[in-house]
Symmetry: D2
Subunit: 291 residues, 4 copies
């Protein structure tokens, strides 16, 4: 079966690559911290020393990195893959980046005779492990058809939103909503607790109610136990809120509520919660209330 490159083996990337491997794909992988590849290697993946060395061996390359800066460095920096990939190879970037960056990557790729697809995912650790991600795709129909079998072993749904950048755009909208919902929940519960309502009871009632995003309920145990081990680190959600408001600036769209919410994550990050799960904003805001 086909050999695929996979760069970026964090929580998400590891789970996604594992599903590709289980489906029979042969993987060539790279990660800055090599230890994270150990399980994949044990199952037969080839671990190489640089993004460029991945590029030498594949015609289809997935990246799953944490920031636009990391994507740029990995693609175009020293020992980057972009100048090594063969003509007409397909680079599928699953990283959560801003749409203007994604369009820039597309432009750069095309000017180097590469094909590009933005395919960030909705879903965090568990859906990644269970192949239940939703792919939000920007790119051509032909390219999508080519990688569809691979996406289908990692996810349960593919939303093709249009040309390059539109997958990244929808992902940004998703994470924007997620960031807003968790802050709305945090403030609402602080308010309720201050009025004598039982914390566990209102966390249950509100998180299961139609006025709250269902995804918030996934964090109930973390919240009630004040146990914020990272599934989706706060610093990355903060970065996403930052990129969304940056995009608002570029597109001339006012986002007053989102900008304030972004600053609340900023406070939590400056307060030392950047590596906690993003639901730690709940605990941080309770503390701000003296609760």
């Amino acid at each position: 079966m086909k050999t695929i490159g996979f760069i970026g083996l964090g929580i998400m990337g590891n789970a996604m690559a594992t599903n590709l491997q289980k489906a029979g794909y042969q993987l060539v992988v790279y990660n800055r911290t090599k230890e994270k590849a150990s399980q994949l290697v044990a199952q037969g993946a080839e671990l190489v020393d640089s993004p460029a060395m991945v590029a030498e061996k594949v015609n289809t390359l997935f990246t799953m990195l944490s920031t636009p800066e990391a994507v740029e460095e990995t693609a175009w920096g020293p020992n980057g893959f972009a100048e090594i990939l063969k003509k007409d190879a397909l680079w599928v970037d699953c990283s959560t980046v801003n749409p203007s960056f994604s369009r820039h990557m597309s432009f750069m790729a095309k000017s180097h005779n590469l094909r590009f697809m933005d395919a960030p995912v909705a879903g965090s650790k568990a859906p990644a492990e269970n192949a239940e991600l939703i792919f939000l795709v920007g790119g051509s129909q032909v390219d999508l058809d080519e990688v569809r079998p691979m996406l289908e072993v990692m996810g349960k749904k593919i939303l093709h939103m249009g040309d390059n950048g539109k997958g990244a755009a929808l992902k940004m909208v998703f994470n924007y909503c997620l960031g807003m919902s968790m802050v709305a929940f945090s403030e609402a519960i602080s308010l309720g607790k201050s009025l004598g309502l039982d914390e566990k009871r209102i966390v249950d009632i509100i998180s299961g109610s139609p006025v709250m995003a269902p995804n918030v309920a996934l964090k109930k145990d973390k919240i009630l136990n004040s146990e914020y081990s990272p599934e989706f680190p706060l610093k990355w959600l903060h970065k996403d809120m930052h990129l969304a408001t940056l995009t608002g600036y570029q597109q001339n769209v006012p986002l007053p509520a989102g900008n304030v919410v972004k600053e609340l994550y900023q406070m939590a990050k400056a307060g030392g919660h950047g590596n906690d799960d993003f639901s730690a904003i709940f605990g941080f805001m309770q503390k701000l209330s003296g609760q």
Copy 2:
């Protein structure tokens, strides 16, 4: 069957009183605008000229009014019901008010030898008509047991949250979440549209996704058709956000995001949308973006 008083026959009150009537209760009703009682009267309700005249005829009185000021005036103002109700009568206030006001009403009622229950509802027009409201109750177990049969013909669920004021507290938390969600949605969709995503498609995707409060989906048609006839008028949601932030002040709880969201509804209200459905904040914010 028992005779019940019902004061406040707006969109919600009318639907609730109608369900009591259908279940066989005899109603004595009052509304400032008498025309709104016509259907109830046609079905056998007695319409009287003042809150006080309702009070003369019943031992159980429901109120469903739009603001704390309206509740206070109806209860304690000229021709108010509170000084006329018989000793030990039970006043059930279903209005959405702030908890400190509700506790104040409770205090006043008790000092006049009346029983009081705060029982605001979750749910808007359709759930009210279909007897699918959720009652959020603050009051004694005994009083709740007494009116349970009545609540059950108007709603599908009763959440007893504790003593007086705690029903009002939970209702405030609910509407806070609702107000936040609709603004989060409005900003997110503005952002997505500005990036070239198709409006109808992302309204569908986001409103049905786990990062958005399900209740937002109820407003999809209004949003896509820019048709904002009121189910829950924006001015009342704005009032609820105001009362929530006022409560934040009283309880020493910072609500930075909620205060900004409140001001967005304030802008929409100052811009002439107070009597539109609260989902008109969507259209207002699109306009702010020049979309």
Copy 3:
């Protein structure tokens, strides 16, 4: 010379009453905490046990209290002065309250055949001691002419803004600007410090520059020494921001920036800085930045 009543002997009230006394007026004073009157008593003031007892002895009464609730209680509560004052007596309220409250006090006073004037002051401790306050007056020209000699021994300037409530209105506008300026300063300096600029130098440059309210410079020493003993306690400035935003709600005026600034003072207050000088918001926000 004339006998004058003075109720409320905090930092400001004490200094103001002292100036009246120095000018030869005979004072009858009341304060909840009696010790605060000791200096005035030593100089000849008569200290009595209740607001009502002040009212028995004077036809001109000044109040300088910290909140609308305190004014209401002192005037109309048990042993309040309002029902005791002689017909046509003049009550001059120097407290910082919201305009709608001030108009309500005016209405109440007139319905009890009293005259009312709102005369809050611009200026804090030092201007109060040096008789350099600015009186912001709402009331009739005749009443103002009557008390002008007294105001002139306490202040250096009188701004007659119109009828009752308009003095309170201008005071609210002043404190709004003050609250906003101190937060703007705090954020600006945090930003500058994070970029390696020397704290003392930029505090000097910015506080003395035409882009910053001159009053901020009065707090330079406190800020540079992190010494926040109260001249104007943070909790009262927070109250003023709260009353201003409440007024925004009543008057249908959006105040998005002010509402966020209010919440920053709220955070500082919930964080234990309510009794510090309001410039403690500077230290609080540095801490939020991890500086």
Copy 4:
């Protein structure tokens, strides 16, 4: 006398170059819109066709451009000056840019054997014309001594803040304060007017008071006449607020109030006021209030 290059002849650049010319310096100038150079040319300046052509003729080059993007393009883009300037030439960038960009320019310049100084100015049109600017300088003492005579014919004061980027840092702090002050003023006056205070009178009182930045008073006539011809266009102040909040993100500093204020300028810009003077935020916010 020495020949100096000057690129960027907008409102500010034109006034600054004119003062250099008056002092006897021979100028070689470039501007994208050539017409703006006509007065300088009439007085003896040489107008050339590209930044590169300026670079061929001078060893000291001033730039006064509107955005980081414009600076980057002019220096390093096609026909840019940076690769043409002689070794050891001194580039003085007076543009208002973010500090990280300024440090990046410094890095790029040094790696091309050029000297760099960031020297943005405090002051707008009138101070520029009257040689009353304040230069905020980041760079070496030696370089500053070299250009001091030139800066002194354009300004009245030089603040040397440290090495490259620190002049830009202070400028950002200045404009941040300016942007905050104008919004604070706008909200405060809206509030006052809604309470019946006379607009002209409170604009006078507040803008001249110690709770408001003195620079706001410079805009009094514009505000009272609703005449917003640009001295400092709103879109550039909005850009500065954007760069400041972007810097907050980079430096891990929460700026909750500034982010909301930024969004208010964003609304005004999306509403068509980008090319008006930034004080048009006043008129925009009055309109938001329905005033």
